[in-house]
């Protein structure tokens, strides 16, 4: 009898891969975005399964709630909601597929061939531990990257505004 968590893992994996694949081959952009949404939700499910609830929560809030919405927004802004996309050039698609498969083969073989030795203790991801890690000052805490990321986000925000802003010249 298979372990139930294993069955759940395979189911979730299949879901992620199928929706992910649909994301990259769907001819309609909006549907593509929806498939991406499901794929990301599936990844969140995987995190739950791995008992990393915080990561799952972040995944849903930021990716599903933020980035995918942003993408859908931009689809509407560029007026392509229902339009079907032009097919890629055949050569490019074949070459791209070959490159992707070759890469997958190389990396997959490597990953499968290596004998991993998991550590048998439990992975403690309590909120307080994560909090200490992110903004604490003790050993192994990441307060400096945390601050840097906040600066990065500010810079990105300003950059977006500057790039997307209509220039005066255009308004006239």
């Amino acid at each position: 009898m298979m372990d139930p968590s294993l069955i759940a893992f395979y189911a979730i994996s299949a879901f992620i891969l199928v929706t992910g694949f649909m994301t990259v081959i769907s001819t309609r952009l909006f549907r593509s975005a929806i498939y991406l949404l499901f794929s990301l939700i599936g990844i969140a499910g995987l995190y739950f399964l791995l008992e990393v609830e915080f990561a799952a929560a972040v995944q849903i809030i930021v990716y599903v709630g933020g980035i995918v919405v942003l993408i859908i927004f931009s689809i509407f802004l560029t007026n392509q909601g229902g339009a079907s996309m032009p097919f890629p050039h055949l050569i490019r698609r074949n070459v791209g597929a070959a490159a992707a498969m070759a890469g997958a083969a190389v990396v997959g073989t490597l990953a499968a061939a290596y004998e991993w030795h998991p550590f048998p203790i439990t992975f403690d991801t309590s909120m307080s531990r994560i909090g200490h890690m992110l903004v604490g000052t003790g050993e192994g805490s990441l307060v400096l990257p945390f601050e840097l990321v906040s600066v990065l986000l500010l810079a990105a925000m300003i950059g977006c505004i500057v790039i997307a802003m209509k220039s005066r010249h255009e308004e006239k």
């Binding site: 070459v95 490159a99 890469g103 190389v106 490597l110």
Partner: protein, 645 residues
């Protein structure tokens, strides 16, 4: 022993003056440039006279001493190159000669070069030359002397080509540079041979190692044989080749007459008194090696000297350019010094030739500089170098006339002028060594007297009315300023009294005083011959007449040969044009153009073509770049993991 500070100051003053004038002074210091250069040289000259005085009056026996030395380049334990100051009789003597003549020329140039737009540059070059020449004479090793040797070559090149808008000056400077460079190539190879064989470049060590018959270095150098001569002979001959090039010895003399294109004071300094005697100095510096270890090389020096001497004297009789006459006379006198060295032995009475040679160098510097400066005054006045534009100038230029006359008497060897004593010593040495040489030297002395007085009469007498109409005299110039007359007077004094210096007490081949006794009887014949030369010149040239033209007609072929300098230039031209260019130059040019350039061009073209091909990969489409990136990444990963792990 003179103080080291003084010695270094003598060297550094001209150098600082060069730096200041050459780098900073182009515009700002222009009015001061001459004063500055002259003052620094004046101090230098005083210091050298003082140093020489202390040196020569302190001890009686003079061995070379290194007063100061700095390890400059250390290549290995056995090979290092030092920079230093060598103190010995000849270097002290040369310090005095160089600084005094250079000071005179600096002073003279104040008037002569006045108003020239590159006045500052001129003084910078003069200072550079003086510094290089001083560095040359105090060199402690072969490499240092080579460096300064090249530096004087460069300054000579710069000064010959000073009027660079004159094509003749440009080609003359190129000629001087190429000919002396060619000779210096030999010098360099000679240095390498000697340095390799003796395992040192230092003069004192080198001389010590190569004059001791039992030393292993001498044995190794003289053992082998290449084209019939040992390595030592070849080394010394090649070193002498460098000296011959610089000293305009036959057959490398062709640059010297052309070098007269430079300003006349420069000719006085560089091409009469100092730089051209560097070859003599070089041979004198290595004299023990020549005399003891390799008499064959010394014979070459002897014959080169005597041939150059008589050869140049003959040519000088038929030249019509005042400076060229002087140039050939310089060459002839240097030939005198060379053969005096060549016939000398080492030590004791046999070393008379050595002393005589350097004595002649000493006196010659004074009277030849005097003659050149006098010629410069004449040229300044009539604006021409051609003798035919001159004549009857003695009343217009009394000071110059007197100075020139003293110079002519000195060079002709009439007692009691300086040239008499030194020439007499040389002739005595020659008489003792080799009668053939003695007779050739005597004839040369007669020729010298003849052509010098020919020049003298043609300039100052001949035509009474004075100057031809083509070149009217610039009355405003007169004889030139006081700064031009003063050096003439001072040098005249030098040309009179320089011969009275008891030179043998100070300079001799082995460092011990040599007492020279001149016998009146020995001197009669040379003086008579000189007087004969003067007499012939007086007969032909004192008053304007058709006598010279008739003489010229009667010996037309001979005259033309002399006038065209034995066609040596033409022979060189023939050789270069018909042999060197087609047989070496053209193939080399072909090789350069098609093989070397061709390779380079082919590399460039290939790069271009590859780039042209690769360019299309730059599609501008981001996905193509991503594809290349990923494909390369995978390939590299596969290689790294499966092939090289």
């Amino acid at each position: 022993m003179p103080s080291l500070n003084n010695l270094l100051l003598i060297l550094l003053l001209p150098f600082c003056s060069f730096l200041l004038l050459g780098l900073a002074g182009r515009k700002r210091l222009s009015p001061l440039a001459g004063i500055l250069g002259t003052t620094s040289l004046f101090i230098s000259a005083l210091l050298s006279v003082h140093s020489a005085w202390t040196y020569f009056s302190s001890t009686s026996s003079h061995k070379p001493e290194v007063a100061w030395s700095m390890n400059w380049l250390q290549f290995s334990d056995s090979l290092s190159i030092d920079m230093g100051v060598l103190v010995d009789p000849i270097s002290m003597m040369m310090l005095v000669v160089v600084t005094v003549v250079s000071f005179m020329v600096h002073l003279y140039s104040l008037g002569y070069m006045k108003g020239d737009e590159r006045f500052t540059t001129y003084y910078a070059y003069l200072s550079l030359f003086t510094f290089s020449m001083l560095g040359l004479v105090v060199s402690v090793n072969l490499f240092q002397i080579y460096m300064f040797w090249e530096l004087v070559g460069v300054s000579s090149f710069l000064l010959i080509g000073f009027y660079y808008d004159k094509p003749s000056a440009v080609s003359a400077s190129k000629k001087a540079f190429i000919v002396t460079r060619f000779a210096d190539l030999g010098f360099l190879i000679g240095i390498l041979i000697l340095g390799h064989g003796a395992e040192t470049l230092d003069f004192n060590t080198l001389i010590a190692r190569l004059t001791d018959p039992s030393s292993p270095w001498l044995g190794a150098l003289s053992a082998g044989s290449f084209l019939g001569a040992s390595a030592l002979t070849w080394g010394l001959l090649l070193v002498f080749m460098g000296g011959a090039g610089k000293s305009a010895m036959f057959p490398l003399h062709i640059w010297l007459p052309d070098a007269m294109e430079g300003p006349t004071p420069v000719s006085a300094l560089i091409h009469a008194a100092t730089m051209v005697v560097a070859g003599v100095y070089l041979v004198a510096r290595l004299f023990p090696v020549f005399a003891i270890a390799c008499p064959v090389a010394l014979d070459v020096v002897l014959w080169t000297g005597i041939i150059s001497s008589v050869f140049a004297a003959l040519i000088a009789c038929a030249q019509t350019d005042i400076k060229r006459v002087l140039a050939y006379s310089t060459m002839s006198q240097i030939g005198y010094m060379m053969f005096a060295l060549g016939l000398s032995g080492y030590g004791g009475e046999a070393g008379l030739g050595y002393t005589a040679s350097l004595f002649h160098l000493f006196t010659h510097a004074f009277f030849k500089a005097l003659l050149f400066l006098g010629a410069g005054a004449v040229i300044h006045m009539v604006h021409s170098n051609e003798i035919k534009d001159m004549g009857g100038l003695r009343k217009r230029m009394p000071v110059t006339h007197l100075a020139f006359l003293i110079g002519c008497l000195a060079i002709a060897g009439i007692p009691p002028f300086a040239g008499f004593f030194s020439k007499e010593e040389i002739l005595t040495a020659a008489y003792a060594a080799n009668p053939v040489i003695y007779w050739i030297a005597l004839i040369t002395a007669g020729l010298t007297a003849f052509y010098m007085f020919r020049l003298y009469y043609l300039i100052f007498w001949s035509r009474e009315s004075g100057v031809s109409n083509a070149h009217p005299v610039d009355e405003h110039h007169g004889e030139g300023t006081i700064s031009m007359k003063l050096p003439l007077l001072l040098l005249s004094v030098g040309a009179v009294i320089a011969g009275l210096v008891p030179f043998g007490n100070y300079v001799s081949s082995d460092g011990t005083p040599l007492h020279i006794h001149l016998h009146i009887g020995d001197a009669v014949l040379p003086v008579l011959i000189a007087l004969t030369g003067i007499g012939i010149a007086t007969y032909f040239y004192k008053t304007e007449s058709s006598k010279p033209a008739k003489l010229m007609q009667s010996m037309r072929v001979f005259y033309m040969t002399l006038h065209n300098k034995f066609y040596i230039d033409e022979i060189y031209l023939f050789i270069t044009k018909n042999i060197v260019f087609p047989l070496i130059g053209r193939p080399a040019a072909w090789f350069d153009k098609f093989v070397i350039d061709g390779t380079v061009i082919a590399i460039g073209r290939t790069t271009d073509r590859i780039a042209e091909t690769v360019r299309v990969m730059q599609t501008g489409r981001v996905q193509d770049y991503a594809l290349f990136f990923i494909a390369s990444l995978i390939t590299l990963a596969v290689f790294a993991i499966y092939l090289f792990h």
